[in-house]
Symmetry: C2
Subunit: 506 residues, 2 copies
């Protein structure tokens, strides 16, 4: 069986060799109908210790990627091409392009040049559809004499007719908002500070999202901090409000967490994506607390799954609805789903777990809807176990589930092996969500979707209104092989349950 052969995630991007961290400048080439992703990359080591490059990958469907290696390299030793974004300069506002270049491929990258004494913003452009870049001769385009000034995210703001750049004055805890008409000359318009500060701000984002069920849109300001999250290390937070092209005004002082797992950082939205109802984006699926130590071999680091984002007003408790990000995973057409298990309207009994066993890849897409009986029980736990192929006779297991007594979902990625002893590789992670629906008898309905891809678990709770992204590392040779749904008590849950095994068409 193929399970043990390739420990590399199947439907997530990983570099062929070397190290990756933040996704950079993802965009959609409308001419070629091709998705581009860049990323923080060191080709020759797996610890990210040497000078960072932009790596490059492309995809026709956001699920499988072709790795093109280095797209932008630093000029000198000790310098790094740090995070940034790509825009499509349709109208050639920058003057980098002539009429030979299709407006849909007028690609400009804006990134931070990290050197010993400064972080400055630079521009490079591509006339071959994003594969190779020419650095602007008058770089840097933005230099404020700071060592902690980085990660420009740029987009065209139609109402104010100019380019907007958000970037982090990292250690002053400011997201700065600049404007430009040519991508070269930038004017500071405002600063934004909020939320958990940690050590520093990184990788800001700003985009407009529709509110589901309402004929209204709101702006979302994202920012990443590392270290300093309550769960440990790095994570993303966001704020909801209005943006007029110059200033972001949050609706409230609420600090919202983008993903409740430990492996979701440096989120980037896609430029020029042909979207009707949301914004596509992608995060790095790791945490700086242990990213350099995870037990993969030729490569280290991967993206999370590409997600579409909207906003929705969800029940936060019986008295309040709150606007929240809703995230849905994108599974592209290169992925084949083979149904292993399908149950409808089943009452789960403690003695009768439901199992799904992989045939090929051990990559799973799990969907579960369940209704918790309001009737009092001593213990009401529903549990999905992801079991490895037998490794030295012992199956390794990670679990997720819902505890109706505690009223929370949990993920436990604690496996008794060497890597898991890392004191920062937090085992037990939980998230609280209100029921999607509570009926007149107080029975509560929830749903979840979980994507399991070799060493990555992404859980989408209640239609994606809360998510938990965690890597996990079974011992060498062990990979997910089966999925088992079980309950601690009889007659407590009515469930719809389906497990697909995912593989690639090729």
């Amino acid at each position: 069986m193929a399970l043990t052969e390739d420990p590399r995630p199947l439907i997530h991007f990983t570099p062929q060799n070397g190290w990756m961290n933040d996704p950079n400048g993802p965009w959609f080439d409308e001419k070629e109908q091709l998705w581009h992703l860049y990323f923080q990359y060191t080709p020759n080591d797996t610890t990210g210790s040497s000078d960072l490059h932009w790596g490059h990958a492309t995809s026709t469907d956001l699920s499988t990627w072709v790795d093109h290696g280095v797209a932008i390299a630093p000029e000198e030793k000790g310098q790094g091409i740090f995070s940034g974004s790509v825009v499509v300069d349709h109208n050639n506002t920058s003057g980098f392009f002539d009429d030979d270049i299709d407006p849909r491929q007028r690609v400009v990258a804006l990134y931070t040049l990290n050197s010993k004494d400064a972080q400055t913003q630079e521009v490079a452009y591509s006339i071959d559809g994003g594969y190779s870049f020419t650095k602007y001769e008058a770089n840097p385009v933005l230099d404020v004499n700071s060592k902690q000034f980085r990660d420009p995210k740029v987009f065209w703001h139609e109402p104010s007719n100019h380019w907007v750049m958000v970037l982090a004055k990292s250690q002053e805890y400011k997201i700065q908002i600049f404007g430009s008409t040519d991508l070269k000359n930038w004017v500071l318009h405002s600063n934004f500070s909020a939320g958990l500060y940690g050590f520093q701000y990184e990788c800001p984002g700003l985009f407009e999202l529709p509110i589901e069920g309402e004929d209204k849109k709101k702006w979302v300001m994202l920012l990443a901090i590392n270290p300093g999250m309550p769960l440990g290390g790095s994570a993303n937070q966001y704020f909801i409000g209005d943006f007029d092209g110059y200033r972001f005004i949050p609706d409230d002082s609420q600090t919202r967490i983008h993903d409740h797992g430990k492996d979701f950082y440096a989120f980037q939205s896609f430029s020029d994506a042909p979207l009707e109802d949301g914004v596509l984006g992608v995060a790095w699926a790791s945490n700086w607390q242990y990213a350099k130590h995870v037990p993969t071999k030729e490569w280290r680091g991967s993206t999370g799954i590409v997600r579409n984002h909207t906003l929705a007003r969800m029940p936060a408790n019986p008295e309040s609805d709150l606007l929240t990000l809703v995230q849905k995973p994108v599974i592209g057409s290169s992925v084949k789903a083979e149904r292993l298990v399908e149950e409808k309207n089943l009452t789960l009994s403690s003695s009768d777990p439901i199992s799904a066993k992989a045939n090929k890849t051990g990559v799973f897409d799990i969907e579960l809807t369940f209704t918790v009986s309001a009737e009092k029980k001593v213990s009401k736990v529903i549990n999905i176990s992801i079991l490895s192929n037998s490794h030295n006779g012992t199956k390794e297991e990670i679990t997720l589930g819902y505890d109706a007594n505690v009223e929370a979902f949990y993920v436990d990625r604690g496996i008794d092996n060497k890597f898991n002893k890392n004191p920062f590789f937090t085992d037990k992670i939980s998230a609280f969500v209100e029921p999607l629906k509570t009926d007149k008898d107080s029975n509560k309905t929830f749903n979840l979707r979980a994507i399991v891809d070799k060493n990555l678990l992404e859980v989408f709770l209640n239609d994606g209104s809360s998510t938990i992204t965690n890597t996990f590392f079974m011992s060498e040779g062990s990979l997910p092989e089966s999925v088992v749904l079980s309950a601690s008590t009889d007659d407590t849950y009515v469930v719809d349950f389906a497990v697909d095994e995912l593989s690639l068409r090729h």
Copy 2:
């Protein structure tokens, strides 16, 4: 050896029998020079499932407590005396007292009466120095027709010459600020919302603190949320700003975490404490995710150690200082400290750990100052292990330490026993702090103090500018017995290290 005989914390309050959660109404009786603590209490069960009372305890030194049992009980089944505060009404603004009652003992309790259909604020007074209470005949004093309206914290605000009450409109995510001149009639002045919202707000607090090294004070607004913390379940957050008696205006939009551990909730400051330079307060040392399941027997729940709070401007990174709470544990005169180990200016080697073994109680007060060599090393970990007396031949261990590669402190309370399998009892908890001092060669100095009391570990990092409070549960019969300091590499740390064993003078 006595270690195994009593699993009850020695220098923290636990009820003799039954369940406790939030501390309530702590105050200082200046006449008797006696500290009073009330608390959410059910005498007859250890799960907090029945109707909550106020329990009562007193202490002469804040370290050892006499349990007086129930102070305020509900009148009817299904009702509960929920959290609140006690004030000393020196000037008899309430009219509850006559001249027979010493002004220093004019004790008024304000608490939430929880009933099936409403949460209302009630008043009770004591004419015997806080031991028994008479409920005001015209209760409730505040009823806004809400089921989620609770936890009044009251104090006298001298500049505006009135009583101030902060309380939580819990599921609307509002801290409401009321004013009164007689403790009976209350007027709403303002609302405050900020930070992580979770499911609901609880247990607000508001007090003024001096800023260390500056001739200035600031107000601190505290609030607790449960569930919904990124670390899982319940925790306290705070905001720093100004207060004029009517409205709290935060200095910034920063969300600050009161304690980075998993067992610090529902903090209450002491009323009428004779303070020169700070505010004393106490939290509940548990988390609603597992509080009802912890493996103690006659009782469940304890307080954290009483802490003095100030504010200080601490380095948050090389470019910013941030105002932060500084917390110092109070060890009272009833506690005897016997030094087990003392090392000064020692270079720690990987082959030569330093051990301290308990003689009596296994209750430790550990102090460590260390300087991390800037010289690059493959691995730079410093580790304090707390080892149990041998249990079935296997010593159980919890660890805390500093990883210089990750630049963070960690606590790992994962012990392979039955209770620790609880998926919400998060094993691995970490906190980042900047060095207290960085010398010209980039060597970094940190300090920590750790109090270990049977099943409670409280870590105070960098003079208490960050804290981590965690319960831990070794298997039955196992208790902390020795403390071992070790390093992963030679010549990396220069340390001062002292371990005291704490016992009671009696």
